[in-house]
Symmetry: C2
Subunit: 252 residues, 2 copies
């Protein structure tokens, strides 16, 4: 089934498109086996959240946009699932907030790094960092900590969608302001973030971009006010409550 | 990492062994991409359940054992994930309740059917059904409905771990008494079952076997009483409540 074979009014259109993109990512050497398992975990949490962007997640997405617009050197970290699921959307976000894109894999192989960088370029990225690997985040096994010195290494704000808990904590400990996108509010990654976005990347990335465009002419004081009024603990609690109170009893 | 490299006292021993077995299943041509995604969904629900067998699930496992011992022709349906995760345990259950094993795949290919049958034989199965495919469950697309006429086609009781919702409903409509093992209490498969077991197959299959051994000398009246006192709606509600009330905030 190609992506366009799925009718847009199908009740599970987004879910089917997502799954198609992940499978195509495997064919392209972008998505790993661990990435497929992680996709399944995300599907379960998204199902419990009602496959929608919570008001608290939308507020987080607006705060993320404001924080990115205030940043000196924002970088968006891209792994295999992000590249497979939202390549164009991630390139559009990087453009909207003038951020670098850096490929960063939990299981780093040169082959997958290159496949992902190529995939991002095919979807409009002008430059992609990550292949130099001349920097390191302290407190991680060497292979896990490799970054580009002039990319994540020099960033003040980092967007890490679907990040491993150890790495999210090490990035925070290294003084980076982190924006984490994750569907599990109990996971260590969003708990390490200054701005945790509990939402599907498929919905979250375009939403941050839309907020960034909306805020393009806002003053630094206005942006700072949006960031300061965001409460990460409240956002995590709201997502947890939504999961606890959500509807059971439907599936595909 | 081989399975034996994981120390048994590791806090996530069961989870790591599970993941290792699933990955080995991919290497052996047993587990599909969809199987990896399904594994991830299961991990998320198991995490929310606290990675434990609820008392309500243990009661379901005992009722399942009693119902299997009462059956005239019980069959255990085996798909790629079941074969990868619990091959020996599934063979042991079939022996304990004198059931047939039948390979039954959502995405049927002769290659995977054969790989799974071989894998079960390597783990002690004397005979494995499913490759003949001369029967059909009504109400499904032809490829989805294929079964062995003298296997699931002739069964009165069918154990379907990790089954697709459409197929679970079609089996129930065909008059089979179904025992479904699934981690999502909201999924259609356990809701179609006479006995829904909301538990990880890794824990559930050995538990049903242990109950069957414990009940080996019970009278038909005793077995019938255990089955009749089991309430499937209450079991589903208990699992749903456990997910809603479970602990968030830990992950690997």
């Amino acid at each position: 089934m190609t992506e366009t074979d799925v009718p847009e009014d199908h009740p599970r259109y987004a879910s089917l498109v997502t799954r198609h993109r992940i499978e195509a990512g495997v064919d392209a050497g972008i998505t790993s086996r661990q990435g497929l398992i992680a996709q399944g975990r995300g599907e379960a949490f998204d199902y419990l959240l009602g496959e929608r962007t919570l008001p608290s997640a939308d507020a987080a997405e607006r705060a993320a946009a404001a924080r990115l617009l205030l940043a000196d050197h924002p970088v968006i970290s891209v792994n295999g699932n992000v590249a497979a699921l939202v390549p164009e959307e991630t390139v559009a976000l990087a453009e909207a907030v003038d951020a670098d894109l850096e490929v960063n894999l939990f299981n780093r192989t040169e082959e997958r790094m290159k496949a992902i960088a190529d995939h991002l370029r095919e979807h409009g990225a002008e430059s992609v960092k990550g292949l130099t690997g001349d920097g390191e985040i302290p407190g991680l096994d060497h292979a896990r900590g490799i970054v580009d010195a002039d990319g994540i290494g020099a960033a003040d704000v980092v967007v890490v969608p679907l990040e491993d808990g150890d790495r999210a904590e090490a990035l925070a400990a290294a003084g980076k302001t982190e924006i984490v996108i994750d569907l599990n509010p109990g996971s260590r990654s969003p708990r390490a973030a200054a701005i945790p976005i509990i939402d599907n990347v498929i919905r979250a990335v375009p939403s941050v971009t839309a907020h960034a465009r909306d805020l393009a002419n806002a003053s630094p004081a206005e942006l700072r006010s949006i960031v300061d009024s965001f409460d990460p603990e409240a956002a995590l609690s709201a997502a947890e409550a939504a999961i606890r109170e959500g509807e059971f009893g439907t599936d595909e």
